[in-house]
């Protein structure tokens, strides 16, 4: 696999929340607004990046039988760091994301990449993988949050442009999260399939 592919596979092709269906809990919970989605995406990307690098570095030292606790300790360290940083410098974001920042510790995407990629691959590859997966997670959060915020609150990135009479409250509530998640997932998969079909057709004619 080329270095570029390691980076870009997380964007859409192996997008953690839309294709692998990992990390659905934060995906459903924090996508009420684009701001929250960006904050959550950035925090998760940081944790993914750092834990992937460190775990890849330590992969020969960590005993195989207790690797999961070791991964969790490493991940928890970086989550505590980002949690304190956000509390210190972005108190508003910290208030709106609440418990979901500390919960990155148990995010399946972070642990999944540690187990499936970082513990088997060299440091630079793990760095690219963490970055790609983090960006992919952020893309999916922003896609879902954009739909929910525009339909549910009539705003985008906090700028209101639809009068509140025309908002559909359901979309910022929990059922709206499930509905939009499903539709975004279906749309992205359909587009990927179309792209893939076109690529195959091109190969066949060539």
């Amino acid at each position: 696999m080329s270095k570029l592919k390691i980076l870009t596979k997380g964007f859409f092709k192996e997008n953690p929340s839309l294709i692998l269906v990992l990390g659905t809990c934060p995906t459903l919970a924090v996508t009420t607004s684009v701001n929250n989605a960006l904050g959550m995406g950035a925090a998760t990307t940081f944790v993914l990046l750092m834990s992937n690098i460190l775990i890849s570095m330590l992969k020969n030292v960590i005993p195989d039988k207790i690797r999961i606790p070791c991964f969790i300790v490493i991940i928890a360290t970086f989550v505590s760091m980002i949690d304190l940083i956000i509390q210190g410098f972005l108190p508003a974001l910290s208030a709106s994301l609440g418990v979901f920042i500390p919960l990155i510790v148990v995010n399946c995407i972070v642990l999944g990449r540690a187990e499936a990629f970082a513990s088997k691959n060299p440091v630079f590859d793990s760095f690219l993988d963490g970055l790609g997966m983090g960006i992919g997670f952020t893309i999916s959060l922003v896609l879902i949050a954009a739909v929910r915020e525009v339909l549910g609150a009539g705003s985008f990135l906090g700028f209101t442009f639809v009068p509140s009479d025309y908002n559909m409250l359901l979309f910022v509530l929990a059922p709206g999260a499930f509905i939009v998640y499903g539709f975004v997932m279906a749309a992205v998969r359909q587009i990927l399939n179309n792209v893939e079909a076109k690529r195959k057709a091109k190969q066949a004619t060539a």
């Binding site: 025309y166 559909m168 409250l169 499903g182 279906a186």
Partner: protein, 321 residues
């Protein structure tokens, strides 16, 4: 080829029933309630109904034609019935654009993504109704006061009987519409649910045509009656009497026309009885203890989710096994 030798596999007797015929019967059965609501609420009822039915059919056509790329099935009439039932579940003064959104939700979220008629897990009209109730809480609970067509009072809004019940700490039957009013439809509410007599007329037609069986409506209404009766006997000053609970709100409309939806209800009689009882129980729990004054649509949707389980539990035994 000789026609006589052309034998197909069993069953050989066909009742002549088709989706179209069933949907036509439902449409006919809904007509009395429609006429009553036009009488009480006037022109807006006709406009909203046309918009709702038209949009449901249009969205189903567009989705099948351009997104699913399959032959369209709008001629089976199921979209028309969904549109009618959806329109019957809203206040008569609802803005038109909300009706369009409701139709889009019914067809575009509750029906077609599951695979269209016969595959939808939840009743499309009720999904859309609950969607609108949660999304537009003000517009969906501002009820115009019913007045015969010659009265010019279309700007007055008032609460539903169940709304009055929820707001006040004790039951004061003096504030309530009289039972005769409840029977003919002189009460606030979504425009298809107001007249008990018109709905019962339609229900009798459906039973006579064998489109629905008695199991679901009877167990649904009986459960509501029994449980509200128990609470009424415990404390008549706190809880309304059971006849009131049966005649108000969307109970009759829900029990006869929406809980009995063939796609989203169980298939065997015993499962139907359990299904109806579950609907009744959830309805009365929401009405007496919930945050919403009315719980029929929530209860039917919740029980819709139970249908696959009920069908499995009450699987008929194979003969001689």
């Amino acid at each position: 080829m000789n026609k006589l030798l052309n034998v197909s596999g069993s069953p050989h007797v066909h009742s002549g029933e088709s989706v179209q015929k069933i949907m036509l019967s439902v449409i006919i059965a809904l007509l009395p309630a429609f006429v009553v609501s036009v009488f009480y609420f006037g022109l807006p009822v006709i406009v909203l109904t046309l918009v709702s039915v038209g949009c449901c059919v249009l969205f189903e056509y567009l989705i099948q034609r351009f997104m699913m790329k399959v032959p369209t099935t709008i001629s089976d009439g199921s979209a028309v019935v969904t549109g009618l039932l959806l329109a019957f579940n809203v206040p008569a003064n609802l803005p038109i654009w909300m009706m369009v959104v409701g139709a889009l939700v019914a067809i575009g979220i509750a029906k077609m993504p599951f695979g269209g008629l016969g595959h939808n897990l939840f009743n499309p009209a009720l999904v859309a109704r609950v969607f609108m109730l949660i999304s537009f809480p003000v517009a969906m609970t501002t009820w115009p006061v019913p007045s015969p067509i010659w009265g010019f009072t279309d700007a007055i809004t008032g609460p539903t009987p169940l709304g009055i019940l929820k707001e006040s700490a004790t039951v004061n039957m003096g504030e309530m519409p009289r039972y005769l009013d409840l029977l003919v439809g002189q009460m606030g509410g979504s425009f298809g649910e107001i007249s008990a007599i018109a709905l019962l007329l339609g229900a009798i037609y459906l039973l006579w045509k064998r489109v629905i069986t008695w199991h679901i409506p009877v167990s649904f209404i009986l459960t509501v009656f029994i449980f509200s009766g128990i609470f009424y006997l415990i404390d008549p000053t706190q809880y309304a009497n059971p006849f009131f609970h049966v005649l108000t709100g969307g109970l009759l409309l829900g029990a006869f026309f929406m809980a009995t939806d063939m796609v989203t209800s169980p298939t065997t009689p015993s499962a139907m009885l359990v299904f109806g009882a579950g609907c009744g129980l959830i309805t009365i729990i929401i009405r007496l203890f919930g945050a919403y004054p009315e719980g029929v649509s929530f209860s039917i949707l919740l029980m819709n989710a139970m249908v696959p389980l009920l069908n499995r539990w009450f699987k008929p035994k194979t003969y001689a096994k």
